[in-house]
Amino acid sequence: MITLKELTNKEDLFVSGHGLCPGCGIPVILKLVLRATEYPIVISNATGCLQVASTEFPATSWKLNWIHSSLGNAASTISGIETMYRVLKKQGKLQTDTEIKFLAIVGDGGTNDIGLSSLSGAIERGHDFVYLCYDNQSYANSGGQRSSASPIGTSTSTTPTGKVLPGKLQYKKDITKIIAAHKLPYVAQTAPWNWEDLYTKAKKAFDIEGPAYLNVLNPCPKEWKIPSNKSIELTRIAADTCVWPLYEIEAGKNININYKPENKLPVTEWLKRQNRFKHLLNVENRWIVDEIQNVIDQNWKCLLKQEKRGINN
């Protein structure tokens, strides 16, 4: 296993000067993911915080080939690029002898909502690429609107809490399982608090042939309404409460849970640290918290069972 020191000695391909918020998880996630392969990477980045903050013309934070098309089509764009790479290889016209890796980077809105068809299609066709979803549970770049990845009860700018409504009324999509249902070679859920887990999964995703999907919890101080120095720590609480379990699914069959909290914390530990959930701790919303806890417990139990029996049993 690689050490953190060895990792820091590797070249940074995403460099400073970008405009991402203090405490945003994206740079931390990227630094680990971009170090997880020795091969050159070509990136297709959807519209979102990362794209806007890292490429303000004429500057760029990217020391590799990077393309942005739109919000809903990063996966189909990389499909075209990866196809052309195979064509050039077949024709013997590729200008380099080295293998190239392909990476789509998309936020939760671009993944769960507008780009789901594009992502599903690219996986079904079996392109050899890694899809990285940084899930900050809202459309943070446009000001923090609800996405289908926002958890139930979240106060967002389009599901605000008010005198009669307690925030978002629907559950978050279980996108990792939705993608796993494509039975692709590799699917993993991870978070930046555990650098080793994140790095190892990214490495597996790059190494494996065919499509691989990484769902990474990305703390967003602006929309989660948390202090910026608490963001990474909070992703650990997400794991300790089983709000965001770390697990991987290989070939749509075997689930490995990569972190099992010794003391599983109640969901209130996750909720109370974020002002987007503050209203849930009021007495009249107690039922929502109970519901959330109930669902988390069921999901966790299901995951443990699936780990034992395999996902299809």
Binding site: V42, P58, S69, N73, S76, T77, S79, G80, I81, M84
Partner: protein, 390 residues
């Protein structure tokens, strides 16, 4: 000579050009082009990579990926499919990607309809694409072959859509002169692309975020590509003619030189219009036709010159653009003529929506109409609808 329909003519052209990748999503009737290509590949007659994607939106997105990797790429669509691509069409032209797309021009819903109508292409007239329209299968074949050469020209590097009227793309089998593979390959001679996202030695950031400080200049630079295409379209049309004896320009004029009255239109209705001109000429009427081939870039100077000496003209649009005074062809023609010292009277007509027929009689009536208008204190300039039931 082969007897084929417009779809097959386009597929035949693509087989001979052999793009690196063909992207497919089904729309009626453009999918017939793609099905033919798929079967060429399945039978080893061509070896392009064929990608079946999940939507028209993904189709254009994948085209962007291929072209940004320096690849030659083709796709085809119609109607709703083109409408769904709308966002990505602007991205393709802004990134200066020489994509070529076949359009079997079809009405936009609602109500859904599969027949000839230009509302799909016309809704994309500001997308930054070069737009070429074909009268028949021969022109569709010829235009596709020229499209790659125009799009890939180093001064142009702008995507091209080639239209053929839906109904005529799949119902009408015609004689088509098909060139030999060698002739086509020699004509095409693809230049190197200006950038490739796969060039790992020279990392690039493509599709940046841009503030007001630079945006305007970016767009004006982009516009230079399509402006440069004016000359290139002419040159390619001439070279094509010199090689294959079928010459192309921005438009075709038919008995226009000494005409006093003319009809202006695009695509398949030109066949009927030519016949109408012939019939009226027999009766001694000085009538002619201008069939526009290149709608974008709009050849306003050349069009103005060709029309300025006429007494009056009827501009026929096969699209309804609600709330406007006449269709896009009418408006553009008016704009081209207005600043000229000498100019004809211009009458707006809308015809053929959703595949409604336009007959010889209709065009003869239009000629009578604009002639009467000219002789009778200029007549009525309100929009007239051809073959519309009361």
């Amino acid at each position: 000579m082969e007897v084929i329909d417009g779809n097959f003519a386009i597929a035949e052209a693509i087989k001979q050009i052999g793009p690196d990748v063909v992207i497919s999503y089904p729309q009626i009737p453009s999918i017939l082009i793609l099905e033919s290509i798929a079967s060429f590949i399945a039978n080893g007659e061509m070896d392009s990579e064929f990608l079946n994607v999940d939507s028209d939106y993904s189709a254009m997105s994948a085209c962007i990926g291929v072209a940004a990797s320096g690849g030659r790429v083709f796709t085809a669509t119609a109607s709703q499919g083109l409408a769904l691509m709308h966002e990505t069409l602007f991205i393709a032209s802004s990134l200066r990607l020489p994509i070529v797309m076949g359009i079997t021009n079809r009405a936009l819903a609602a109500p859904i309809n599969f027949n000839a109508d230009h509302s799909d292409s016309m809704a994309q007239r500001d997308s930054g694409w070069i737009q070429i329209f074909s009268e028949n299968s021969q022109e569709a074949y010829d235009n596709i072959i020229q499209a790659f050469k125009i799009a890939e020209n180093k001064d142009v590097r702008t995507p091209v859509m080639v239209g053929i009227d839906s109904t005529f793309a799949f119902n009408l089998h015609e004689n088509v002169n098909v060139q030999t593979n060698d002739e086509i390959l020699e004509f095409e001679n693809k230049p190197d692309s200006n950038y490739s996202i796969l060039d790992i030695e020279n990392p690039k950031t493509v599709g940046s975020f841009c503030t007001p400080d630079y945006f305007f200049e970016h767009k004006i630079n982009q516009n230079k590509g399509i402006e440069s295409s004016r000359k290139v379209i002419k040159d390619v049309g001439r070279e094509f003619g010199d090689r294959f004896n079928r010459y192309y320009g921005y438009f075709e004029t038919y008995k226009l030189e000494d005409a006093e009255f003319a009809v202006i239109l695009m695509s398949s209705a030109a066949g009927t219009a030519k016949k109408a001109v012939d019939e009226m000429r027999k009766k001694g009427e000085k009538v002619g036709l201008l069939k526009l081939r290149v709608f974008r870039p709009f050849p306003y100077k050349e069009l103005g010159e060709s029309l300025s000496n006429l007494k009056s003209i009827a501009v026929l649009d096969r699209v309804l653009t609600p709330g406007t005074y006449g269709g896009p062809l009418f408006i553009e023609t008016m704009a081209a003529l207005y600043s000229l010292e000498k100019r004809p009277l211009v009458y707006p007509y809308i015809y053929g929506l959703g595949g409604r027929d336009i007959t010889l009689k209709h065009i003869e009536d239009i000629f009578d109409d604009i002639k009467k208008g000219f002789n009778n204190e200029k007549g009525n300039f309100e929009i007239k609808y051809i073959n519309l039931r009361e």
